[in-house]
């Protein structure tokens, strides 16, 4: 009953005209960046972070969240019609989605993708409504030792799942922590690594770092190659899947939704991993696995549902513990902090309007996305024809503007360009930026909680082991760190490792 009252309150907030407008802008931009290859939700969210400052926290967060789950919908359109993933979570959709389009079944592929996403998104929201308050009430008992260990676990899981050498991913995470500590020490206000520059006293901004590593670096990588687009030009008809399509897709949608939701909650997990895991699961369960890769609708329905469910699930650790499980949620944490709201166990009780408003807006956003992605599909197809040589200078222009507006400081534009070049070189020599960004956000919190726990325990390191939650987190982290030394474990890691931040 209480949940229903809270949901009612949430819809009261979400249905306010200004919040409906922000929600629409968010899901529209999300679909747009999902459709356009070369710009993802991370770049778009960091670009629009300064714009959210002008509105209320509810409006700002509603828009940012809309961009995230909107991009999950939009990404599938590009994968199916052009065979280029609009964003990283849609990589697997290319495999069977584009084959279906080539066989003249682009309509059902797009339809099942949007409808599966809607079903998964709805399930994830209901689960979020039920799980988040219970988890928040448990999390109130968390002390600095638990928070420290949870953050360590989040970073280790992300490095474990990052493609390539784990040592490289761990090195990136360490560099992220160091970058996050630049500026005044939060405990004794001592300047650290500022090199006498006043601009560094407050630390490096999240927006220039993310825009550089993901926006500018992505453009530099894309200019290296000629992007050939094999766009399906035939008119797209029969968007609603037929009975046989539904029969084949029901299981994958159900399994993808549950799998995606739980993988989304895990620290370091996310939409990319869940879509790959769902594809692998469906192929393994199928009686005719040879159809996969040749236009099997299950290969579209499962992963698309999984990535949307994961997008919903990822809000749980952020909203209940204040810990972002992935880079996108780290940006959302930045948006909360910019608005003076600290996500965590107390947020649901102290800011119920905000929490339930965001949850309700996500449901409304899912309905908006269904309308945007099915009847308006023709508009997105036209957009896909925009050549990259015109698109990328515009992306550069908007990144410059976004970074400048976030602080009104030219120094941040320099920082962005520097991180853009560093990010490009990093990717060329096989260093993924995702662990760096997550560690950059978690670094100051990690340090703060470590120092607090050591002060409270009077230097007793056993405090991290004596507390059960902390001990379990650290034990899992140790297993994941030591595991890859064993050949069989290493092989399994290589199978699941992905370019999360791509």
């Amino acid at each position: 009953m209480e949940t229903l009252l809270n949901v009612g309150q949430g819809f009261g907030v979400a249905l306010m005209p200004i919040n409906l407008l922000y929600c629409f802008i968010g899901v529209f931009i999300g679909t747009l960046v999902g459709v356009l290859p070369g710009i993802g939700p991370i770049s778009a969210m960091s670009l629009l972070l300064p714009i959210t400052l002008s509105g209320t926290p509810e409006s700002g967060i509603i828009m940012m969240a809309g961009i995230y789950y909107g991009s999950m919908y939009g990404g599938s359109t590009t994968s199916i019609l052009v065979n280029i993933p609009g964003e990283a979570a849609s990589v697997v959709t290319c495999i069977d989605g584009h084959q279906m389009a080539k066989q003249g079944r682009a309509g059902p592929a797009l339809g099942i993708s949007a409808l599966g996403s809607f079903i998964a998104g709805t399930f994830a929201l209901i689960a979020l409504m039920l799980v988040a308050p219970s988890l928040a009430s448990v999390a109130i008992a968390f002390g600095p030792a638990e928070y420290f260990s949870l953050m360590v676990l989040g970073l280790v899981v992300l490095t474990f799942l990052t493609q390539g050498s784990m040592a490289k991913a761990l090195l990136m995470a360490c560099i992220g922590i160091v970058l996050g500590l630049i500026g005044l020490d939060s405990i004794n206000a001592m300047p650290r690594l500022t090199f006498g520059r006043l601009e560094l006293i407050d630390g490096i901004g999240l927006v220039p770092v993310v825009m550089g590593l993901f926006g500018v670096a992505e453009v530099l990588i894309n200019t290296e190659k000629l992007i050939k687009r094999d766009i399906i030009n035939a008119k797209i008809t029969h968007l609603l899947p037929n009975k046989a399509d539904w029969k084949a897709s029901a299981g994958p949608i159900g399994r993808g939704t549950i799998l995606g939701f739980f993988l989304g909650i895990l620290p370091g997990g996310g939409s990319v991993i869940s879509s790959f895991a769902s594809y692998a699961l469906e192929k393994r369960l199928s009686k005719t696995p040879e159809r996969f890769g040749n236009g099997a609708i299950e290969g579209v329905a499962g992963p698309e549902s999984a990535n949307n469910a994961a997008a919903g699930g990822a809000f749980i650790p952020l909203m209940t513990l204040g810990i972002p499980p992935n880079v996108v949620m780290a940006l959302l944490l930045g948006a909360f902090i910019v608005h003076g709201v600290q996500p965590g166990p107390l947020m649901i009780t102290q800011n119920p309007g905000l929490f339930w408003g965001i949850v309700a807006s996500m449901y409304i956003g899912n309905v908006m996305l269904l309308v945007l992605n099915l009847p308006l599909i023709g508009m997105w197809v036209q957009l896909l024809k925009l050549p990259y040589n015109i698109l990328f200078p515009l992306i550069i222009l908007f990144t410059i503007i976004g970074v400048y507006c976030s602080s009104n400081n030219v120094f941040d534009v320099y920082v962005m360009i520097a991180f853009g070049v560093i990010g490009y070189l990093m990717r060329k020599i096989g260093y993924e930026p995702a662990p760096l960004v997550l560690a950059f956000v978690l670094g100051p919190m990690l340090e703060n909680n470590l120092r607090k726990s050591l002060i409270l325990s009077q230097g007793d390191l056993w405090t991290f082991v004596e507390r059960p939650i902390s001990a379990v987190c650290l034990a899992i982290a140790v297993v994941l760190l030591i595991g890859p030394l064993l050949p069989s474990f290493r092989k399994k890691r290589e199978l699941v490792a992905l370019e999360e931040g791509a």
Partner: protein, 161 residues
């Protein structure tokens, strides 16, 4: 990857250089941590986390270097094989020139040439399209920010914009 693309103890081993840069950064962070004072385990100082993070960076870098020497790694040439490496270089040069000009010339006078360079240098867009885009996009953005959102953009020594 051919044998020529994978080398062990050679100057052009990209993995080796990645590890060496990480090691240098780690050593710098350790030194910075020490300089900032470590404090004690009961009362950790400002340099405590930096120092131990630096040590971890050194450890991971040594692991990368060890793997680069024993297993070998791709050469820089192999990393950029089949890539149009001059294109990102041109974009980087344009961005550096832009960053040097932004404060002095202001937003409009530095962004319009940047846009034109990007539109013409990488995969050339025809002049009749490049010039209007290079002019209209920055002008449009400038108008929205300055007139609608009331955000002051750098106007430079000529105070244009």
């Amino acid at each position: 990857m051919s044998d020529q693309d994978n080398v062990k103890l050679r100057v052009n081993n990209s993995e080796l250089w990645g590890g060496l840069i990480g090691l240098a950064l780690g050593a710098f962070v350790v030194w910075s941590g020490l300089k900032l004072k470590l404090g004690t385990i009961n009362d950790p100082g400002s340099g405590y986390v930096l120092f131990y993070t630096g040590l971890l960076m050194c450890l991971f870098s040594v692991t990368i270097i060890f793997a680069a020497v024993t297993e070998g790694g791709p050469t820089f040439g192999a990393r950029w094989k089949d890539a149009r490496w001059t294109k990102p270089l041109l974009v980087i040069a344009s961005l550096i020139a832009f960053s040097l000009a932004l404060d002095k010339l202001g937003f409009l006078l530095s962004t319009i040439p940047l846009m034109l360079l990007l539109l013409r240098l990488v995969d050339p867009v025809r002049w009749s399209l490049a010039v209007p885009i290079a002019l209209l996009a920055p002008l449009g953005v400038w108008w929205v920010l300055k007139r609608v959102l009331l955000i002051q953009l750098p106007s430079g020594i000529f105070e244009i914009g």
